[in-house]
């Protein structure tokens, strides 16, 4: 058990940031992403014997977080969003002041990412932050490798169209 805790702790320390970035890129809400990743790691610890033998344990964590996100959304659909008692405005995640994003993360970039379809965001997250190849990404998401390639190409094209002008403008300042 001590050995399990030690190996899990090492795994957690070395992978947690990239897993959070991957989930944040997909979810767009810093607080929700951190909760999801923490819960996914806790589930990984609960079955560490199996997860540690997984070919890519960090992919297991991110995939679990993605799945919990789906569950969270399914639960949320049955919930009613009440207006804020002070302002009267409905609190919606993803809106300014509620997304919990680090100031360091470019909001325009996050907005561009969130405009991508969910599957494209997941592909980008896995390829970018977990350095997964096409085959592993496809396996993790349960889709065909060709679909991964297509999603990535479309995501890059969309990001280039939305994001690059900003970079160019800033680089000229």
């Amino acid at each position: 058990m001590e050995h399990d805790s030690a190996s899990f702790t090492e795994f957690y320390e070395t992978t947690r940031d990239n897993c959070l970035r991957a989930v944040l890129a997909s979810v767009g809400d810093r607080q929700a992403a951190e909760d999801l990743v923490a819960e996914a790691y806790a589930r990984a610890w609960a079955r560490w014997r199996q997860v540690s033998r997984h070919p890519a344990p960090q992919a297991w964590v991110v995939r679990t977080a993605f799945n919990m996100r789906v569950s969270w959304w399914r639960r949320r659909r049955r919930e009613v969003t009440l207006p804020d008692p002070v302002t009267g405005a409905a609190a919606m995640p993803g809106t300014a002041g509620h997304d919990g994003l680090d100031n360091a993360v470019d909001r325009e970039l996050m907005a561009a990412l969130l405009r991508l379809p969910a599957r494209q965001r997941q592909v980008v997250a896995l390829r970018l932050f977990l350095d997964m190849d096409t085959a592993r990404t496809a396996e993790t998401l349960g889709i065909a490798p060709g679909t991964v390639t297509a999603h990535l190409a479309r995501a890059i094209a969309t990001l280039r169209a939305q994001f690059c002008p900003t970079i160019h403008e800033e680089s000229w300042r």
């Binding site: 805790s5 899990f8 702790t9 957690y12 320390e13 947690r16 940031d17 897993c19 959070l20 970035r21 944040l24 890129a25 810093r30 951190e34 990743v37 923490a38 819960e39 790691y41 806790a42 589930r43 990984a44 610890w45 609960a46 079955r47 560490w48 680090d102 360091a104 993360v105 470019d106 970039l109 990412l113 980008v124 970018l128 932050f129 890059i156 990001l159 280039r160 994001f163 690059c164 970079i167 160019h168």
Partner: protein, 232 residues
């Protein structure tokens, strides 16, 4: 800016994002989840045991007086129990072994019911010839055990996988033990064994032995002296 530059820019934007939760908090939460899962599993096992007990109670009307079950079977088919022991009113014991798991528990259960049986895997070749009980042939003629009917061990029908036999413990001579040995197909005992002493058949125990031992196995049943050397 090419694609790599774009991806690098995106990655750089996320560089300051760090997971703050300390590992011990995660582990504590994981421990709660694990305990909850184990409680749930124990509950399911209890429900399964209750179902088996109910079915055994149903079988009492058919002459079955008691039944014990082993832990869940092969990982790919968790609904199967590893083994089932049923003691009948006439003292005979029906044994169904679907997977060679929890064998010490199975041996203890059989011993509690009065049948001295030892079950082992792939050790027949190391069994000294002197262990074979010479009078087992006679005892075998009194039906210490029997293999009921045609035994199907094909993986295509997991519900029929396994070994089925009936023991008559009262007819086993003192100082003798029934030894069941499962070994890889093709491994022939290095000494002649009287035909009546043993039944040999081919079985498939999917996912048994705690290793990937899916394949064809021979089951060898014989009587041995009740000594540590012969039963271990």
């Amino acid at each position: 800016m090419n694609d790599n530059d774009l991806m690098t820019a995106v990655r750089d934007c996320f560089a300051p994002v760090r997971m703050n939760a300390p590992a011990d908090v995660i582990i504590e939460r994981g421990r709660c989840l694990r305990d909850r899962r184990q409680r749930r599993q124990r509950g399911r096992l209890a429900v399964g045991a209750l179902a088996v007990a109910l079915s055994a109670g149903l079988g009492a009307g058919l002459g079955i007086s008691a039944a014990s079950v082993g832990s869940s079977g092969a990982a790919h088919d968790a609904t199967l129990t590893a083994w089932v022991v049923q003691k009948h009113p006439d003292g005979s014991i029906s044994v169904t072994i679907r997977a060679l798991r929890d064998l010490p528990a199975l041996e203890r259960k059989l011993a509690a019911d009065g049948a001295r049986v030892t079950i082992s895997y792939d050790t027949l070749l190391t069994l000294p010839r002197a262990c074979l009980a010479p009078d087992f042939q006679t005892v075998s003629g009194m039906r210490i055990f029997q293999l009921p009917g045609e035994v199907s061990f094909r993986t295509a029908d997991p519900a029929r996988n396994g070994l089925y036999f009936t023991l008559y413990p009262a007819r086993v001579p003192r100082h003798e033990v029934l030894r069941i040995t499962v070994f890889r197909d093709g491994q022939i005992p290095p000494y002649p064994v009287p035909g009546a002493n043993a039944e040999r058949t081919t079985v498939t125990f999917p996912g048994s032995f705690g290793v990937d031992a899916v394949g064809e196995f021979d089951v060898f049943l014989t009587g041995v002296w009740d000594t540590r050397q012969c039963t271990s």
